[in-house]
Point group: C2
Chain length 189, copies 2
């Protein structure tokens, strides 16, 4: 889920975002202090409020967007060579399972960790909704490109999103990504 | 998800568990202090370590078990009068959607909130795995009772669990339980 290209922003801002994303995932929004983010990113003390005037909540929104950008890249990679929605979706699940297994710190769904553990904040919820919806919109776009009926592509993509979200949670409990690989994609076509 | 019968334990213990369950859901594991739990439950100060020698982690485990007991009750209610797996599963989704809409404080998946936001703790993970697996085992049991092929009942129940878990997350982002009601149960049979 790491973006394939560096964000087009100053290095300090990018470092703050990457550190915040990791720490929120590991310790939750409430469990992360700004001092930890500064320390982890080796950013100058004044830089945080310079780049993120509202502090922690701004940082959480930016970190979620950054992570989401990476997820869209994974979706495009997975569907790039696919000849059917099911093929692309299966590759997508395998890529997520691999990500789950190889990256120690990718164990929480980053959007859940950053947004749902935050305060009961409408901006956070709207941002989470937009992000999650953008993922299913992206798989639906690929479905349509591959000849799927548009309504079916939308329905299959929303169901895929829900199932992956749940499978990721269960994979964390089981410490095994098998449940992500076993998602029965054929049912969705 | 509130158990229909009071837990068969001392009232103080039950009050501590109910308060902890609510606070962990609202503020996460890291965001909840034991002083808040004591204050919220009006429990005597010494009672917490008397009932929960390991403190917060013991309390989280007990709260998760209590919530899970309530969920099993909802599953049994939903499938009690059903004549098919799809019928029971549809009622189950409608009951969850109603719960989502009527209870202000039922907005996080309680098992995720209590266990996944906790420390990277094997006991927590194993407990979450057992709890989540017990929910799908219970719907599978009803499926078999209603004449479903056992392997199919297991597969449909696991998929139902994953989808509900993801739908609950998306419902939180959208502030609408419609996504829980719209789960296409017919695909799972």
């Amino acid at each position: 889920m790491t973006p394939r290209t560096a964000p087009s922003t100053a290095p300090t801002r990018a470092r703050l975002i990457a550190s915040a994303a990791r720490l929120f995932r590991e310790n939750g929004y409430h469990g992360t202090g700004l001092a930890q983010v500064l320390n982890d990113s080796h950013a100058p003390k004044g830089s945080l409020y310079h780049h993120f005037p509202d502090g922690k909540s701004d940082l959480a929104m930016a970190a979620a967007s950054w992570v989401s950008h990476g997820m869209i890249g994974i979706i495009d990679d997975a569907f790039g060579d696919a000849t059917s929605f099911a093929g692309g979706a299966t590759t997508f699940c395998y890529k997520l399972a691999k990500l789950f297994e190889t990256a120690d710190h990718w164990q929480a769904c980053p959007i859940s960790a950053m947004l749902f553990d935050g305060p009961d904040n409408d901006d956070f919820r709207n941002h989470a909704d937009q992000i999650l919806s953008s993922w299913s919109a992206q798989t639906a776009k690929h479905g349509r490109r591959l000849g799927m009926d548009p309504a079916k592509a939308d329905a299959a993509s929303e169901l895929l999103l829900l199932t992956i979200q749940g499978a990721w949670t269960l994979a964390r409990a089981r410490k095994s990504a098998d449940v992500i690989r076993r998602i029965p994609i054929h049912l969705y076509e």
